[in-house]
Structures are given as C-alpha cells and as structure tokens.
C-alpha cells in the first residue's frame, strides 16, 4: 500500500516536473511547480516528516512560488518562447546528455547500491524522530551557527534584491 502510494506520488512528482519544463506558458510552468512542491511535501509526509512537509508547503509552494508567480505576472510573461516544444525537442542532444547523466548516476550507484545506515526507517526508536523538538534541539545547539548565518543570508538577499529592484 505504502509502496503504491510512493510510486504514485513519484510518478506525479515526475509528471509535474516534466510539465514544468514542457509548458509553453510560464504561468503554467509555475503552477506545475507548485504542484511539484506539494507532491514532494506528500513524500516528506510519507517519510514521516510532518514538520518539514508543512514547511515545504509553506515556504516553497506558499512563499517562493507565489513570489515567482507574482514576478511573472509583474513582468507580464504569459507565453514563453518556443523552446518548450515538448516532443520536438525530446531527442535534442541536451536531453540525451541529461539522460546520460541520469543513467550514469544510477550506474555509479545512486538509488541502487546498498546504503550504510545507522538505523532504518522502521526502527521504532526512530519513529519519534521527526518531531519538531529534536530539530529544534539541533538547531539551537549544533546548528546555531548556520541558523544565524541563514539570517545573514536572508538579510543580504533582501538588501541585494531591494537594491536591484529599486528604481533610482
């Protein structure tokens, strides 16, 4: 059951991702992207990471994607260029290259090799893991520095974005 769910979600995720690429309309692309974000959130949930799944929806689908769509609207970019002809370009060398990359990644073991795991997902001790408090614990102990740095990053990006976007 779970496997089926995973597979279905995977297919949907792939499908939405493909549609992001193949939509001629930018807005459509963005909308497919939102879908993709959602489905990934679902996958997170399947991995029992509720908090991060919610974060995914809020931050990604909610914030970033809205931001992007807003930008698209603002720039009035409804119809994208011809580069998104779905099938015509499928045998494009670039797709082949990408396919090669994927195959190569698979061959050298991404997703197929044995994994060195400390625990497994079924480990009952780990069920609790994924709770917010553990994450919080991490963030405010070991992860303090990156966490603080993220704030600097965001400040920098805001400062930059404001500078760039503001008119003289």
């Amino acid at each position: 059951m779970e496997q089926a769910l995973i597979l279905i979600c995977s297919i949907i995720a792939i499908g939405t991702a493909v549609m992001v690429i193949f939509s001629r309309n930018t807005v459509h692309s963005a909308m497919w992207m939102v879908g993709n974000c959602f489905i990934i959130a679902v996958l997170f949930l399947l991995l029992k990471f509720q908090f991060i799944a919610i974060l995914q929806v809020i931050v990604y689908a909610g914030a970033i994607m809205m931001f992007i769509i807003y930008a698209i609207m603002m720039l009035n970019l409804r119809v994208s260029d011809d580069s998104a002809e779905p099938l015509k370009n499928l045998l494009n060398g670039r797709y082949l290259l990408v396919a090669l990359l994927l195959i190569g990644l698979f061959i050298i073991g991404v997703g197929f090799g044995p994994m060195a795991l400390k625990g497994s997902m079924t480990d009952p001790a780990m069920v609790k893991f994924g709770e917010v408090e553990l994450l919080a614990n991490y963030i405010f102990s070991e992860g303090l520095l990156p966490f603080e740095l993220v704030s600097i990053l965001l400040t920098a990006s805001i400062v930059g974005a404001v500078y760039l976007a503001k008119k003289n």
Binding site: I6, V20, I21, T26, S157
Partner: protein, 101 residues
C-alpha cells in the same frame, strides 16, 4: 520501509535530472530558475530520505537551510530578472550575449 528508500533516491535522481534538463533547454529565465528549484526539491528529497535512513536531524536542518537559500536566491534572482526585463523587455536568456569570447 527500508526497501523503499531507494525509490526515493531514484525519484530524487530523476527529478534532479529533469531539473537539469530544464535548465539546459528552457530559454525563459524564470522557468530556468524554476527548474533549479526542482533540482533543489530533488535534493531536499534526498536529504530527507537520508535523514530518515540515518536517523539524524542534520538532513532536516539542511533542508530548512536549502529552503531559506532558495528563498534568498529567488529574491535576488527575481530582482535580477526584473532588472533585465526593465532594461531589455525580455528575460529570454538567449538574448543576452553581450559578454562572450
């Protein structure tokens, strides 16, 4: 559930590659950026999977950071796009090759 993690990984690889493909084919800067976001999403998926597999919180935290980074990049990136659009009326990345050779 252990046997499923490879599915996640494969999915993440596939998504990553699709994002990749998008980046190298689409001309619209925003779509390209979307594709990059797909890649980041794929990476997030991998992190989450491993986090679960390794039962360590680092992966999750990483994912949070990636989200923050994505947001920051989105802000800056879109600002650049807007700037470009203002300047040239287009964000077709193939139109920008003033700098070459």
């Amino acid at each position: 559930m252990a046997e499923y993690q490879n599915i996640y990984l494969i999915l993440s690889a596939i998504l990553f590659t699709i994002g990749c493909g998008g980046v190298i084919t689409r001309k619209n800067a925003i779509v390209v950026f979307l594709c990059i976001e797909i890649m980041l999403g794929a990476v997030n998926l991998a992190f989450i999977t491993f986090s679960r597999a390794n039962s360590s919180p680092e992966g999750i935290f990483m994912v949070m950071c990636v989200m923050a980074v994505a947001a920051a990049e989105a802000a800056v990136g879109l600002a650049i796009f807007v700037l470009l659009y203002r300047k040239t009326g287009s964000i077709n990345i193939d139109k920008f090759n003033l700098l070459k050779w």
